[in-house]
Subunit: 377 residues, 2 copies
């Protein structure tokens, strides 16, 4: 069993200005910490989450032995990111539905539930909010920031928005921006949610309903893009649910259908529809090269951190080629970069799974950071 | 302008037994023919259609100059499949919404619109129905059968169901069966349609509505899988619709979103929801190796036709690897096979587009067949 952890919440009264021009005030951020902050506060590691995750990165809650955090295989005492050496912070982003202020909370200006009126947030806004949490915790500089997928984008953005506050950045299964196909899948998922009659323009809370039909479709699409063709064929192939065909367009015939419907149903029970819209939009918008005419090299000129990039060969959502774009832009700026391309069959999901080479690379990288911390004392 | 054509319809009173165990009677098949059947009836070529197509394969309708058939670039006087030499037959499959008997027609047993009660049809059933049309037209043997994508599956199935009636088969951008990912995308599209409240269990006609929300989502998903990553990035990339970001989760920000919504809207105006379910299911079920324990070589032992296989490098829906499986199975049976793998950026859609190498390969193949016909006279 993993170690016990306790979720915390930090309130912020002051307005946080957002990239959209709007701002948000009287919000709170849910977070967890593991390990001990050292005396000179130099061993903090911030872990950023992806679409369907939260501040509950590692450990379990008291009395809930199966409540492991989403990166519990990576983070903990003696693990790749060793909480005996590092003070690890997990944070839930603004607009999420797992504890931080989001669309299902009340707007302090109106007293009504935000719903679709929750301001659109960007990766940059999230990083600003994360920086305020560090301020509140008295941490000036991060030993490292780390994230996978959308979390990797936040780690990248940290090195550009607060270069002086982050010494290392681990960017895993990520990309410098979404391509047209990525945006396309996000848009189909959003349309499925928004056109569900139970969405009610994003104010479904008032109607006592949830746009589950749309959420199910969104999650099914997501799952297809998380898995590789290989692993899908290996796990499901053309296996039938029953011994014989039923000759039906609506009943389940194939195991892959059963799997996807189950994933969709489960997701629609707990994920907030407005949060799904916000998070996919934050993904769409992220594009640090955009402000430099598409020149990623120019964008990374401000970064001073040392980087670890990891990609997975069968990840077709954020392919290795996208990670290599980042590696090249960093090398063109003569930055320190370690890059591992892991030959794994699991597609995008690989960043959450156990792979000894992958976990070993991250372990070695953090061991070097720990050694640097020892030396600098 | 292309040549003028006239759609026709052939009624069939006798019941057609279907693979599901059901049967269908008093149905009609819409078809078109181009060119002239020769005296010994040896120059007939049957063209089978894919998901969103019909019997209107080539030419235009009188007074409708923009009504070109879906393969008009391939088929016509002097074209790759030359209607000056061949008698070409286009046929609309059972269950379609473009003229042949389908879910929006009345069930002769009840007098009510079939709707979701239209029997589930398979590729094999379609081929049986096509064979009856040939019988009615007095054609015993096809010079060739040809199709792309799902149409290619029908061409394949012809060579297995009626080996003595088909001398050549052109199988373009197709596969020996769907893999798990293909089925997964079909299932998401079906769930989007079936869970649209306007679907009414498939009997929406009686309610005067159409499940447009579901159809839109289905078509958007389809379009993503028809295009390659390359061509999407080239055509749309991250181009914005307006000069500035709107910071909205529901408004259109990116051109790719605009394109997909337009395609979805257009499709939902004319395509029947029950037909979409039936056709995607026929795709799912097709698996000629299934009856031989998955051994495609054994499945093709009965085929005697000469084959042309064509695939496109960036087609990730039916990748070249899938076509090569068919080529290998045919070669293992010492069958005559020509195979062209066309380096084209357009993804699955390439089979409908102009590519001189592709159109040239098909032209050469049919020229050889025409020469054989001359020799055998």
């Amino acid at each position: 069993m993993s170690f016990e952890v306790v979720p915390q919440s930090m309130p912020f009264a002051d307005p946080l200005p957002l990239r959209s021009g709007a701002s948000i005030r009287d919000y709170s951020l849910a977070y967890e910490t593991y390990g001990t902050l050292n005396a000179d506060k130099s061993n903090a590691v911030l872990v950023c989450h992806a679409l369907n995750a939260s501040h509950h990165v590692a450990g379990v809650y008291a009395g809930q032995p199966k409540s492991e955090g989403w990166w519990d295989n990576m983070i903990g005492p003696g693990k790749s990111l060793d909480t005996n050496r590092f003070f690890v912070i997990g944070i839930n982003n603004l607009g999420s539905c797992f504890g931080s202020t989001g669309p299902m909370h009340a707007n302090p200006d109106t007293g009504r539930i935000y719903g679709a009126d929750f301001p659109v947030v960007t990766v940059e806004d999230w990083v600003d909010a994360q920086a305020r949490l560090l301020d509140a915790l008295g941490i000036q500089t991060l030993a490292a920031v780390m994230g996978g997928s959308l979390g990797g984008m936040q780690a990248l953005s940290w090195t550009l928005q607060y270069p002086e506050r982050v010494r290392h950045a681990a960017v895993i299964a990520s990309a410098p921006n979404l391509n047209a196909e990525n945006i396309a899948f996000n848009e189909v998922a959003r349309r499925a949610i928004v056109t569900d009659p139970d969405f009610h323009g994003g104010h479904f809370y008032e109607h006592g309903v949830v746009p589950k039909r749309g959420l199910r479709i969104a999650r099914m699409i997501g799952h297809i893009t998380y898995l590789s063709d290989d692993v899908m064929n290996q796990k499901f192939g053309r296996q039938l649910k029953a011994d014989d065909l039923r000759y039906s367009t609506q009943d389940i015939e194939f195991q892959i259908e059963s799997y996807l419907r189950y994933q969709g149903d489960k997701f629609s029970e707990y994920f907030d529809a407005n949060t799904y819209l916000l998070i996919t939009r934050a993904l769409d918008y992220f594009d640090p090269a955009g402000a430099h005419g598409g020149d990623l090299r120019a964008a990374f000129a401000r970064a001073t951190a040392k980087f670890l990039l990891v990609s997975f060969t069968t990840d077709w959502r954020f392919s290795p080629a996208r990670s290599r774009e980042i590696v090249k832009a960093l090398l063109d700026n003569r930055r320190s970069v370690s890059y591992a391309e892991i030959d794994a069959p699991h597609g995008h999901d690989a960043f959450l799974l156990d792979d000894v080479r992958y976990l070993g690379v991250v372990r070695s990288w953090f061991e070097r950071i720990a050694a640097e911390l020892e030396t600098s004392r």
